[in-house]
């Protein structure tokens, strides 16, 4: 079972109280971008076995979006943090490094 803590309302709840929103930290390409950029943004998603960053919404609770760093294989959650961030904060990266030394994900490590 995946157990997440919503950083907006502080509830520690199980997966069914939340709704997954796909990959986190996407750079969006819309009107004015090339077909290749748009294609990459829309379809080229990370699908790692291990450390992953995702968007989640507390849809049966406070209704807010947040980001989560977790392991896709063990369902271990390294931490959840505000959706208003462009990259994982240091304490989240440190928490992952402590458990999974040498991890990388897109441009982050």
């Amino acid at each position: 079972m995946l157990i997440l803590e919503c950083p907006c309302c502080g509830v520690r709840g199980e997966e069914t109280e939340f709704h997954g929103g796909g990959e986190a930290h996407l750079k969006r390409f819309g009107p004015g971008s090339t077909d290749d950029e748009f294609h990459t943004y829309l379809f080229s998603k990370e699908n790692p076995k291990g450390v992953h960053f995702e968007r989640w919404r507390h849809n049966n609770g406070c209704g807010k979006w947040f980001l989560a760093a977790r392991d896709t294989m063990t369902l271990e959650v390294f931490g959840t943090y505000s959706a208003q961030t462009l990259e994982p904060p240091k304490h989240i990266r440190d928490a992952i490094t402590a458990k999974r030394p040498g991890w990388t994900w897109r441009d982050f490590s």
Partner: protein, 189 residues
């Protein structure tokens, strides 16, 4: 003038806990900066209560102030007072970024009481409802089987539950099934 009635029309059920419709209640969704002194003042003026802290429920005689999210409260008042309360809020918060909406007829308000109340809810919500973890005054929005719901526990040990009016029948039947005699688990006993 239409005659307003609650979806469950005062129905109740006695199992190993008592489930009852609490009838019509004035409910106002108030969104805005909960830390601002104007919001604090108007909540006090209209309900007689302070702005609740995170996941807290404050209740008065006919009123309640419930913490829904970091920028949202649910205020309760007598059903007939809603229009005047909203008018007061709109006057007090004029010029601020806020929203006050009458949701009274969009919600169903239930009460779950009796010794088995915790267990009835614990069977259908993924929440730790043990007496140590869930104490009076706590407010929780969560999933109740297949629908979203919100509830708080009062000092007398009864739960007050708010859910959408459109699923009133489902919610009542669900709690009824959960409270059916013979279905006691005795986990919190």
């Amino acid at each position: 003038m239409s005659n307003a009635v609650s979806a469950l029309a005062g129905t109740s059920y006695d199992g190993f806990a008592r489930i009852e419709d609490q009838g019509l209640r004035g409910m106002i969704t108030l969104r805005g900066d909960l830390a601002s002194k104007e919001v604090k003042a108007v909540v006090k003026a209209t309900t007689g209560l302070a702005v609740p802290g995170q996941r807290q429920a404050l209740s008065g005689k006919d009123t309640a102030a419930l913490w829904m999210s970091p920028d949202e409260l649910l205020l309760m008042c007598p059903y007939g007072d809603v229009a005047s309360v909203i008018e007061k809020i709109e006057t007090a918060l004029k010029g601020q970024h806020f929203l006050a909406v009458n949701v009274s007829d969009a919600r169903t308000f239930l009460r779950i009481s009796g010794a088995g109340a915790r267990e009835v809810l614990a069977k259908v919500c993924p929440v730790d409802l043990s007496p140590e973890a869930f104490t009076p005054g706590m407010f929780r929005r969560t999933r109740m089987a297949q629908v979203p719901a919100a509830f708080w526990l009062d000092e007398a040990g009864a739960f007050h539950l708010v859910c959408f009016r459109s699923i009133a029948d489902y919610a009542f039947n669900l709690l009824k099934t959960s409270a059916k005699p013979g279905g006691e688990v005795g986990y919190f006993a």
